[in-house]
């Protein structure tokens, strides 16, 4: 076994200077931290933007935000949260840190490409931020950037704003492609001895499938961005129909805005699951570890991830029910949308059955994991409403949709992000995060987001339209306006409470209680490293050898309540032993 290690160890020279170690680093752990900190930083910008929007909605007389800025903030808030925060954090942050450690590799297979991926990501963020400083500011087209309004005068940032946005997206796509290529190849190619695909922790499965989806879906956005840039700068008519603006005929003719919508949502819907699948994976590991119980139905969980990933490429047009489409198209997409609820529900049942009769430790990561399951169910159920054409049409342009997607793909994945950071923080820094601050932050965030987004369902059913800067209309009752003020106050409190989390993270990194190598008593490989934080090359002289799946908690007859993956099977009795010890060989559902 030692020869195996030395054979590939010579490729990993430990970098010496500060610059090569922490700035131009090719070490997946450093790149993961770079990705995470950049994503969190840009996420805070988006959080501030949402606060400014809420102030406008709750206190329309404050005059803090004008109509143009409101739309610009809305656009940037959505785009940053979905792409530059969640996608980058789950794939670039968690993916980079956890994949090599969890599969027992010394690093990604293409470390240089991995470094490039981060720097491209950083450039894309800087270009996006630069759009605040171009003439007329960033684009205000809404995060979906629908033409023709995105590049037609009258929309804020229709000249420079939209171009910087499209350029930034194109650079981000290059970064994400380089990253995903690395994650997929590493999972397929660099697993250690004994780490079969069906022994991988579900975190790796979630990120693996999400990376494949990113490789297939992001090109759609890339193509759309290139075409729209040509429409905006060269006067082509890919998307731009004949338009008379300000009494003048624009040079475009015949272009199809629907074509853009198809391309955008062919990327956009898989994107939802590019964010959700890693969250599913992380949460499965959090629940199993902190309930001290093997994950229920591991095989089902894996196949559900794969099936959701596949199905998500056949549902995109459910975002376009109100754009006008053939009736049988709508029928097809409604069916495929509802079908995706089946594997998703399987996952939810399995999480609950994992908790069932478990030795549940209500640690902070566990609180976040349970918070995720609850929130995801709530957000998912309203998705069933909206998946039906006939229900969607009256609700599509109301706050009901805002509530739905914030619950299901805003709050739910962010809860996983918090849970995941609390869970893996000891491995990254060697110190625990403060428990009291963590709990306080959890309860404020969890309950607060419900107070914010639950009333929005009601506002939506009431008919309050979304994307409006001001609700000074007859048909909006005073009660709705009061509710808006209430939501704003809660939103500002919850936003301010995020300082608790930042403070906890920074303070704990330097002053937190030393954690030791495996504070949670977890089985998967990243907790079995010889050093914490893991050194360069992760495993010291010899890479670990895997003998079992990642979920051997409370195995009858074992000395501790967990058995690490590196622990050899006992004797020849394995063939007829417990089901969970041989998950690669037979189903045990």
């Amino acid at each position: 076994m030692v020869t195996v290690a030395s054979a590939d160890a010579h490729e990993h020279h430990e970098p010496q200077s500060f610059i090569t170690k922490y700035v131009w680093s090719q070490d997946h752990k450093v790149i993961a931290i770079q990705y995470s900190l950049t994503a969190i930083a840009v996420g805070l910008v988006a959080l501030v933007l949402s606060g400014l929007m809420r102030i406008q909605l709750g206190f329309p007389d404050s005059g803090l935000v004008d109509a143009s800025s409101y739309y610009q903030f809305m656009t940037l808030h959505g785009m940053i949260m979905v792409i530059y925060l969640l996608t980058a954090l789950f794939l670039g942050g968690f993916g980079n840190y956890l994949i090599p450690l969890m599969v027992g590799a010394r690093d990604m297979v293409f470390p240089y490409l991995n470094m490039l991926s981060y720097w491209f990501y950083l450039v894309s963020v800087l270009v996006l931020m630069a759009s605040f400083f171009v003439p007329d500011g960033p684009t205000g087209a809404g995060w979906t950037l629908y033409p023709p309004q995105a590049i037609t005068g009258g929309t804020p940032g229709a000249d420079w704003g939209i171009l910087t946005m499209l350029l930034s997206l194109a650079i981000f796509i290059v970064a994400a492609t380089m990253g995903s290529l690395n994650y997929v190849t590493t999972v397929l190619q660099a697993r250690t001895k004994g780490m079969t695909l069906m022994r991988m922790p579900l975190t790796v499965w979630g990120i693996f499938v999400a990376s494949i989806m990113a490789l297939l879906a992001f090109p759609a956005l890339f193509v759309a961005a290139v075409m729209m840039m040509l429409d905006a700068t060269m006067g082509t008519s890919f998307f731009m129909p004949a338009i008379i603006a300000m009494g003048q005929q624009l040079p475009h003719e015949g272009g199809s805005p629907l074509l853009f919508q198809h391309l955008f949502w062919f990327f956009g819907h898989p994107e939802v699951y590019i964010v959700a699948l890693p969250a599913f994976g992380l949460v499965s590991d959090l629940i199993s570890t902190h309930a001290r119980k093997n994950i229920f139905g591991y095989h089902m969980m894996v196949w559900a991830i794969v099936i959701i990933g596949g199905l998500s490429f056949f549902v995109w047009a459910h975002h376009m029910y109100v754009s006008g489409m053939n009736l049988s198209f709508g029928f097809f997409f409604a069916i495929s949308t509802l079908v995706i609820a089946v594997p998703t529900a399987i996952k939810v049942y399995n999480w609950i059955l994992t908790l069932w009769k478990g030795d549940i430790h209500l640690t902070v990561p566990m609180l976040y994991a349970i918070g995720f399951v609850v929130t995801f169910v709530v957000g998912g159920l309203t998705g069933l409403f909206l998946g039906n054409v006939i229900v969607d049409i009256p609700l599509a342009d109301t706050y009901f949709v805002v509530a739905h997607f914030h619950m299901v793909m805003g709050v739910a994945p962010i809860l996983v992000v918090f849970g995941g950071i609390h869970h893996w923080f000891p491995k990254v820094t060697g110190r625990m995060m403060n428990d009291t601050l963590g709990r306080l932050h959890f309860w404020i965030t969890f309950l607060g987001t419900y107070v914010i987004f639950f009333p929005m369902h009601y506002l939506g059913v009431l008919g309050m339209p979304r994307r409006y800067f001001d609700y000074d209309y007859e048909f909006i009752p005073q009660s709705a306006l009061d509710l808006n003020t209430f939501i704003t106050i809660v939103a500002l409190v919850v936003a301010a409470a995020q300082i608790l989390f930042l403070y906890n993270m920074i303070w704990s990194a330097f002053r937190g209680r030393p954690s030791g190598g495996n504070p949670w008593g977890a089985t998967s490989l990243e907790w079995q490293t010889p050093q914490t934080p893991p050194g360069h090359g992760n495993w010291g002289p010899a890479v670990p050898e895997v003998h079992r799946w990642a979920y051997d908690y409370n195995v009858p007859g074992a000395s501790a309540d967990f058995v690490p993956q590196t622990e050899p099977q006992r004797g020849p009795s394995q063939g007829h032993g417990h089901g969970p010890e041989q998950p690669g060989e037979k189903g045990h559902s």
Partner: protein, 206 residues
């Protein structure tokens, strides 16, 4: 070629190549690079497929006027086929370890690929002269977009090609030269298939 590491209860983990040998640790750089390249072809295939489907959807709108393909694209198709054949010659020479033949094959590839790009540019100028500008009609826009995207990817391929050549002239070991040549050849053939598809779409579906 199997991508999966197999597990056998009696013999432990088996090598992914499937000869029944036991697992010798993570694969070498060569196999990782090969799989990396094959996976990289996924997003590229996705991108060109999406451009083609956008073409199919857009051409049904009334303002579409088919563009007469300039004769130069026939020339460039022949040049690209030739470039791919030359790379295949180089690849076979590399597999046998015939350094001299690799050099000749690579040179031929490079010359033909640059000639292909030149011929594409010639086609563009030819269209410009006749008034088929980029923005004049969506069919024109798609022609420029498709040939442009394809050309950019070939230019990126030429960067890898020059790296292969400098590895060859710089006296790198035979194994890495073989690897580079093999990787580039696959990419070249992929781009040839993409061009034939784009050309077929532009020619028949207009």
């Amino acid at each position: 070629m199997s991508h999966w590491v197999k597990y056998d209860p009696s013999r432990g983990t088996l090598d992914p190549d499937g000869d029944g040998r036991s697992w010798q640790g993570p694969a070498g750089r060569g196999r990782a690079a090969m799989r990396g390249l094959l996976i990289f072809l996924l997003p590229l295939a996705s991108m060109f497929a999406l451009v083609i489907s956008a073409y199919m959807m857009r051409r049904h709108v009334g303002d579409w006027q088919p563009i007469p393909l300039p004769w130069q694209v026939w020339l460039s198709t022949v040049l690209l086929v030739g470039s791919s054949i030359a790379f295949e010659v180089a690849r076979r020479a590399a597999a046998l370890g015939h350094i001299h033949d690799i050099r000749r094959g690579l040179l031929g590839t490079g010359v033909l690929a640059v000639a292909f790009l030149g011929s594409q540019l010639w086609a563009w100028f030819h269209l410009q002269e006749q008034g088929y500008y980029l923005a004049a009609n969506p069919a024109n826009s798609f022609f420029y977009l498709m040939s442009g995207l394809h050309g950019l990817h070939l230019i990126a391929g030429l960067v890898a090609w020059s790296k292969t050549r400098s590895a060859l002239t710089g006296g790198a070991d035979v194994a890495s030269v073989q690897l580079y040549v093999q990787l580039c050849a696959i990419y070249w053939h992929f781009l040839l298939v993409v061009w034939l598809l784009l050309f077929g779409v532009l020619f028949w579906v207009s």
